[in-house]
Symmetry: C2
Subunit: 152 residues, 2 copies
């Protein structure tokens, strides 16, 4: 998770991704939607490209120089689940007076979707029934501790 946060944790990055997930691709559109400074936006987009979350595609409007659109890669589009989980938490625990600003629906069925834990048989598991267990790859501490000893 530390690595994900290294890429995603910087100011603006999540908001840029939220815009991208609703279809924004052009620099000027990101700028006007977010009110973000051009140099910060430029640095964040470059970082997202470097980490394989977005890719650039040239376009040219009549009479203008070649510019670039920023599209999400598949890895980038998979962040929909992370953003969905964040928004769902905010909608419940820090709600706006007017209600949620976005909803998510399955394109095929138009049914509303939420983010949840699902087991390998496809059954939803309530968050309160989920235990986080450290693997052998967990960085060592001075006082080793089994996650489940305390949380379980």
């Amino acid at each position: 998770m530390t690595r994900s946060l290294g890429v995603l944790g910087e100011d603006w990055t999540f908001l840029i991704l939220r815009e991208a997930l609703t279809g924004t691709t052009r620099f000027a559109e990101f700028r006007s939607a977010l009110g973000i400074a051009a140099d910060v936006l430029s640095r964040r987009l470059s970082m997202l490209v470097k980490y394989g979350v977005m890719y650039q595609e040239p376009y040219r409007e009549p009479g203008s120089r070649t510019r670039y659109e920023y599209h999400l890669t598949d890895a980038g589009r998979e962040l929909e689940v992370v953003l969905g989980a964040l928004q769902q938490w905010g909608d419940k625990h820090l709600p706006w007076p007017d209600g949620p600003t976005v909803q998510r629906r399955a394109r095929r069925t138009d049914r509303q979707v939420h983010v949840a834990f699902v087991d390998d048989l496809g059954y939803e598991v309530p968050w309160a029934d989920v235990a986080t267990v450290r693997t052998d790859a967990y960085p060592e501490e001075e006082t080793p501790k089994q996650a489940d000893e305390v949380a379980g």
Copy 2:
């Protein structure tokens, strides 16, 4: 989501929450597990208490003054889904050489769980089939745009 990020987006906050979700409650334990400066840790824990993500509980060890443990509220424990989604994304797209550092299992069945979109009938929906649709509560822009026109 902007609100969730206001609370959760600061440096260290996610890492503190990850520790808390695996059972850490005491100031000294957070410090040694994270290698975080005491004043930063103190400010982050206070903020998490202020926003109802954690609560304090006094404890006293023999011969010591009263200290406080930091426990997650139900709202805080629900962040398990957000952290699970982040870790899952990182494990897939920015993997460690030794593999994932934590796993999540259903306590009741011991089956491994993952984070996914689920519709109101309980069926898992692939992320690529999920459309994000802006509601009437979405902040207005200069050039209104339907999310689905572009992303759909």
